[in-house]
Symmetry: D2
Subunit: 239 residues, 4 copies
């Protein structure tokens, strides 16, 4: 486990972008699974600038690792919509290089990724409850494969699903799909990044405490090639 601590969110985001770029400058197909959300906003600004109109990155393929469908709206769900806005559209990534996971293909996700050569890197955020991808405590277990998580998976799941679609009851889905701990652990490299004081306690618990399903991210500390990228606030409980 390598720990990288940077002064602030901007520098932390720059390092995360650099780690991804480092993988991308290769003379072979590179498969990256990347995260939506708020943590990566700045990182995608950097990546858009560094990858737009760069034909030499035509070896790079992108995967989302979870998806929350809208109940009524057609097309992409919450995750892919967010990735499109933050990165795929501004960076002009061709569709043939984007491999969406969704409710129709989640059962073949692990097999498809393996046939594509496996993930060279998966970039993860972390929630204050220790979740990553859609692995909220109580929803998936270390031994599962890419899964369907229903609205009754945990007590508050309906609220969570409502919140994910912006509070619009008409669009609240009954479920989401997600790559799970074992799928994530198959990646050749795992990078997890976090920003801000509110992540400080979970970072300490997940990476310097017990490995337990109650803190899904805790399993990641056992991966042979995992890097944690933090700003000083997120690292503030470590030392």
């Amino acid at each position: 486990m390598k720990i990288i601590i940077e002064e602030n969110y901007e520098k932390m985001s720059r390092v995360a972008a650099n780690i991804l770029l480092g993988k991308m400058y290769q003379n072979k197909r590179v498969n990256l699974a990347i995260t939506a959300g708020s943590t990566p906003v700045k990182m995608y600004e950097y990546l858009v600038a560094d990858t737009k109109n760069k034909p030499y990155f035509d070896n790079v393929h992108y995967y989302n690792f979870d998806e929350i469908p809208f109940k009524q709206k057609q097309g992409y769900g919450v995750t892919m919509t967010n990735l499109n806005t933050l990165f795929f559209q501004p960076a002009e990534i061709p569709e043939s290089h984007i491999h969406p996971l969704d409710e129709n293909n989640y059962q073949s996700q692990d097999k498809r990724v393996e046939q594509d050569g496996g993930l060279d890197l998966i970039l993860l955020g972390i929630g204050t409850d220790g979740h990553y991808c859609g692995n909220l405590p109580g929803t998936t277990k270390f031994e599962n494969l890419t899964s369907y998580v229903g609205e009754d998976a945990t007590e508050h799941m309906k609220d969570i699903l409502l919140s994910e679609v912006g509070g619009d009851e008409n669009e609240r889905p009954d479920f989401y799909v997600t790559m799970v701990p074992k799928s994530v652990m198959q990646a050749k490299e795992i990078v997890l990044f976090a920003t801000g004081r509110k992540k400080a306690i979970i970072i300490k618990r997940a990476f310097f405490g017990p490995v337990t399903n109650e803190i899904p991210a805790s399993l990641l500390q056992t991966h042979p090639n995992v890097t944690i990228v933090l700003d000083q606030e997120a690292a503030s409980k470590l030392y």
Copy 2:
């Protein structure tokens, strides 16, 4: 996770030997952690024949991953004594290529292995209780580093220690040392092998059941590069 099933103990042992040999034919330093015990007896017969007097294997270094000291006898403990008998002496491996773990150096084991370039492969057996190395249920946890396990670690530990030194009360040690789940998971490749009907149930539980500290080997199913080598009897509960 790759599952290899062979007809019988001899063929299973030949495959295990071949996997090790496959790592050894490289033009760089190769670090192997290997297991003592009864399962590997035949495999070491093959390996002795294939490695003795082969100067082209001077790139290979060997590590033991646990050690049970004798109480009174000087020198190597139970594990290294066994490895010497089964492999190092008949294969005439030079001492400079053998890196013993013992009670004096266990605290620096993980760091030393990392500085040597990491383990290219660790070969493990499995107990009917799901243990590997000295990771018996209740002795170590997924998040530990290479550890000292005292005679009071579990209810039956004194009996286990006595059994390990052949029932000689004078030699019963108060403890042993062992690489732990997280140390093992750092290896680039993990191979676990098992023979016989008595291992059939634990193989199913460890690799097709929940990841839990109660079955220490269950964690290994999440490693990105793990191979399970079985004879038909050990595999008899899988299908």
Copy 3:
């Protein structure tokens, strides 16, 4: 460059088989380019025994690296016919795992191999003139891509082509196709093996002499991961 010297042809063949097996025991697609001819006869005997009816090798894909078409006979040329006889048929390799190179697809060979993930290993023999694959002195150059070599490429090419089809004038082709030095150098690992006193001088010249197009195999000594497997006779000029 790693040099492996074994006592005799049988042991040399066993080591060559072991190196291939070592690559094959992986939990990912493995691409092997393998050689036809007389040197590998014994090695394929071993490999057939070790791979036939082994479902755990369903990750392995095979490539030939040159082809000499028959003038009239339909179907496979000299190389694939030989590989079928020595290995693919007795080992019952499914057709979907065999990727023939021939006169119709040679121009896309390098691109196809790259899209398949590249060659994990290419196994080569060597001629007394320093050729490997169809890279006879004077036919291809270090900088070419997979090539068509016509009957007028060198003075004796018509005779060579005649000899390759067993002296049958009706079947003598006008050309052959071959992967070339640069294609071969793209492999992650190169293994070249040789047997017998008649190969001793070329082994010394190719791997311990100048890198020159006059000895096509001489380029291979610069590859970062190349292993030369010899019996004592083939190694007899080295020391």
Copy 4:
């Protein structure tokens, strides 16, 4: 071979820095051989900013690949003096992470690098004559190991040596030492970068023409993992 073309010197330098950084963010020892000279000036400005006071880069080790000693001045020669000024001192790289090649240790250079785990990446510039490191046409051959090149190696070598020490006759050495084509080819990855119109013709000849000792860099086109980073002027003869 991957070709990366950027608009101008600054962007080309940023990409070269990013490729190096990409290697450095690893949880293992990383060995980089890096170039002195004028091409890397901007790249080192970026690297100094990105590596200074970053304890998470304590896994990175640096190697020079040639050295031109001063005749009288004690201490480092031309290359290490230049690397110290451009990078090691401003980035505050600790001495224990710098592994100088010089006239006293050049004969063991290839062995030492191998024992350190090999070079993860070597970054090269190129001269208008196709040289890299100290491999000027006529001085070294593809098959050599790290070499001593005397003042009589080529017709103009005395002038070249004089020019390298800034035209000071008192400091003109009789020789230099250099890693050679075969040493360089052993690196896991080769990156060569070039800037400006005056490099355009040699870039075309070296990477899209014959592999010949007359253009030492031409051999690099056969390496399985080589990246050429150019600004538009240096790439202007390619398309």
